[in-house]
Every structure is written in C-alpha cells, then in structure tokens.
Symmetry: C2
Subunit: 105 residues, 2 copies
C-alpha cells in the first residue's frame, strides 16, 4: 500500500483592527507595506489583503489565506510582521479580534 | 475627451454567525446548500464560502466577494437567501456581525 501524502490544509485568517481615528492614514501606509512584503517574502501565502469597513473606516481587517499552519507561524515570526505589530500597538483604539478558519464549502 | 467607464467596485462581506452547539450540523447542511445555490444562480458573485473557526466551532462565517453593491443587494433579495435566513434565525446563540469591506491592498 502506497504512503499517502498528508492532506493539504488551507487556513484562513480574518484579523480585525480597531484603529484610532487620527491614526488611520498611518496605519494604512504601514499595513500596505506589510502586505507587499508578506506577498513578496512569505512562503505559503496564498492571499493577504488589507480591507476597510465601508461604514466604519476605523475597522481595518487583514484577510489572509495560508497553505498551512506552519506557513502562518513563519509569517508571525517574520521581521516585517513583528515590526508592523510593534507600530500598530500604539494605533489601536481597542483590542482587535483574530479568527483562524477552515473552509467547509 | 473620451467618456471613462465607471470604476469597477468590488465589495467583500464577512458575516459571522454564532450558532447554538446542538444546531451546528443542521446549520452547516443548510449553509452548504445556500453556498451551492448562490454560486449557481447569483450574478456578480465572485466568492461565497462557508468557514468555521478552528477554535470555536460555533462561529461559522460566510466570506463573500461581489462585483458591486447591486449584486449583493440582489443576493439578499433571492428566495434561497431569505429561506436560509428564516431557518438560521432559530439556530443563533447570539446576534452575529456583518461587515462590508472595500479592498485597500
């Protein structure tokens, strides 16, 4: 019996950030740079997007898709991610919410 | 000067549903059917997915992408959407959260 390759497991992330009104432009500039660096350097990144709520411009969400948990973990350890998070900490109006998802359909 | 076509406006939706623990399987079955009918019938639907939080199986999120607000509005008026929502009302543990997003990067 042949050895079967482990099942491919996509993981999706929605990370909601509630940003101070006077820090929105700065957040967006740094987040756009984070998006560009993540897409360029981080293996296993399928999708990495910066979204803004149409009714509440202070709600800025990263929508992500990774090949697997290991790829996501490596992203969280990357210098560009850690640098961005250190800056974002001062921009938060209230704690955000991070959800990790599997796709059912 | 040539008339320029109106800018294409994609809209993304994250609709979080908090489902009663004993209704998860029923919700998933109906939501999968809703996904299939939406993909098959609703014009302007780019992406329509059913996601489940990996740590909290009661959090079931629809992740959507529409050509524009009109396409989303037509989906909300469709019979398959209204039928599913009528059923889901009895499955909710607490009110969900719906966010409409534009893409910045």
């Amino acid at each position: 019996m042949a050895i079967r390759k482990e099942k491919f497991t996509m993981i999706k992330v929605a990370a909601q950030n509630n940003i101070k009104a006077d820090k929105i432009d700065e957040f967006i500039a740094i987040a756009k740079n984070l998006v560009a660096e993540t897409r360029k350097y981080d293996a296993g990144c399928v999708r990495y997007e910066l979204l803004q709520d149409v009714k509440n411009p202070q709600l800025l969400t990263m929508l992500e898709e990774w090949d697997d948990q290991e790829a996501l973990n490596n992203h969280l350890l990357s210098q560009h991610f850690k640098d961005a998070m250190a800056t974002f900490a001062g921009y938060l109006e209230k704690p955000g919410e991070i959800n990790l998802y599997k796709t059912l359909a």
